[in-house]
Amino acid sequence: MEGLLQLLFNGLSVGAVYALFALGYTLVFSVLGVINFAHGAIFTMGAYFTYLLIGGAVGANGLLAGLQFPFALPFWLALPLAGIAAAAVALVVERIAFRPLRDRGSDPLLALITSLGAGVILVNLIQLLVGAESYSIPVGTLGSLPAALSIAGAKVRTVQVMLLAISGLLLAALSIWINGSRSGKALQAVSEDPVTAQLLGINSARVIQIAFGISGFLAGMAGGLVGLSISIAGPYFGIGYGLKGLGVLVLGGLGSVPGAVLGGLIIGLAEACVPADLSGYKDAVSFGFLFLVLLVRPQGLLGRPQANKV
């Protein structure tokens, strides 16, 4: 029983990060119909911002060697600020990699390549500035919280509980915003049909910016949380998550918010269920799962089927 509970917690806390990640993709996908390949780099940025804001010092290899902010914020404050900084990066990516293509009426497929270019620039900029070494966010930043909790006999790391709680909170806030607010409804209208939405007086360009901003915020928060629970393994560490997030996105259904959450939790749990001696095959399990679902239900678990248009 304890073992099962432990497994459940491990799976859900990893799944929650995947869900946050996939939600960022899904927001941009729902308004533009394309995937932002710079998303993984924005996630990485969020992790580094968090590290710097809690007072971490840059190592000896980058241009900014030895840089350290004169203040050290507590983690609960550093994390949302890092999210905001990541949102600013996402807005810059939108401005340079997405908007010029829209203005010229180019094939949306090209955004795959331009956003990839933006991602390459961001990742290498990080490497140039702070070096390729890994950083870890000390658990001490959580203040007086204990390192692990005991829930019904299972030992669970506090970080995992935090991951779950913060992700849950963000997901709830996001769905309330999408369904309850004016701008959230505008987002839904744009994702249905941008031209009609524009005719109805919705400023589509602004809605797209909002989608990018929130997507970057979620990615930045996810980056900070992963940095805390595992470590920041170097400038490239977002790429693996980016790939997994892509799988989660398609598993749940492109453009579906509940789908992204469901997909994240399923893949997180599926990975946690892989026995330790086969852990090398973990990634194959999630992608194999994704592959099978695509073949049976091409639109994903909660997505809408594509219609055959003439």
């Binding site: 293509l101 180019s106 331009t114 990839l116 270019g117 390459v120 695509l294 073949l295």
Partner: protein, 302 residues
């Protein structure tokens, strides 16, 4: 120019062609690095484990390389035939992601299997050529052959059917084109090119591991085609040659080179939405003989 770099550029052009073939048919398949990895693994295993292939001379016989290529082509072809039937039912971005999933599954399996050498891979792959220049000449011949075949393909019935599907799949189907078979043909040809390229790359690199067929490779090879252009075979060849060489050519800017590389991929599609090489470009370069008839034909078109 350094022959080693030239060889890498030629391999890049071949991979570009492999991504181009399904894309010319409107199918965004990113499976190329997977089949490339299979080709490389076949070559690495055969040349290091089968003594009969090694021959008696000081260098590894070219006939053995050709045999490896044939076997790799057979394996990737059969695999693509089976997988293609299933994945090509998916469209657009769904197909792209399903093929990324395939590549990842292959990578993870190669990484964990005993006989493929695990994370370290396979070392000491024998060399059929003593210099990089030998490889470059061999690969250039291979690239020329495949370009010629692509050119023939574009001018024959299946090639035109592919272009028709790209423009409008439903319209193509209503004109009697077997869209499922045509798409499958493009997918299998793409796999063959990638598999054969993997064989050459394995010998050239001297060692082979699972990292060579990963997600990064999927996206980089796609960039070759989008940058170069996907409407004629010259586009991916140009994109593959240029984008492979670029990080090396940018060595003088030092640490900034990958940032500049990213900027080129970012800015390229803005100025060349159809890719740099388009059929219109050829028309512009063609000598204007019989200008009146050409002008008349254009008038009719408009």
């Amino acid at each position: 120019m350094d022959a080693g770099l030239l060889e890498q550029m030629l391999l890049g052009a071949l991979l570009g062609l492999s991504v181009y073939l399904p894309l010319r048919c409107g199918q965004l398949s990113l499976a190329t690095p997977g089949f490339f990895a299979i080709g490389g693994t076949v070559a690495a295993l055969l040349s290091t484990r089968v003594p009969a292939l090694a021959g008696s001379g000081s260098t590894y016989p070219i006939t053995s390389v050709l045999l490896e290529m044939a076997l790799a082509a057979l394996l990737t072809g059969v695999l693509a035939l089976g997988l293609g039937r299933v994945v090509l039912r998916l469209r657009g971005i769904y197909l792209a992601i399903a093929t990324i999933a395939l590549v990842e599954i292959l990578r993870v399996v190669t990484l964990n299997l005993e006989f493929t050498g695990g994370a370290l891979g396979i070392f000491g792959i024998p060399q059929p050529f003593n210099s990089a220049a030998g490889y470059a000449a061999f690969t250039l011949a291979l690239l020329a052959l495949i370009c010629w075949l692509c050119d023939r393909l574009e001018k024959t019935r299946p090639g035109r059917a592919m272009a028709a599907i790209r423009d409008d799949e439903l319209a193509a189907a209503s004109q009697g084109i077997n869209t499922a078979d045509t798409k499958l043909l493009a997918f299998v040809l793409s796999a063959l090119v990638a598999g054969i390229t993997g064989v050459v790359a394995a010998h050239f690199l001297n060692s082979w591991n699972a990292k060579l067929g990963n997600f990064d490779a999927s996206i980089t090879t796609l960039a070759f085609v989008v940058f170069g252009g996907s409407r004629t075979w010259l586009g991916p060849v140009f994109g593959g040659l240029l984008l492979t060489a670029l990080p090396e050519l940018l060595r003088p800017v030092g640490d900034l080179r990958l940032i500049v590389f990213g900027a080129v991929i970012l800015v390229g599609p803005l100025f060349f939405p159809q890719g740099v090489i388009t059929p219109e470009l050829f028309k512009w370069f063609k000598p204007r003989i019989g200008g009146i008839t050409t002008a008349a034909a254009q008038g009719v078109k408009q």
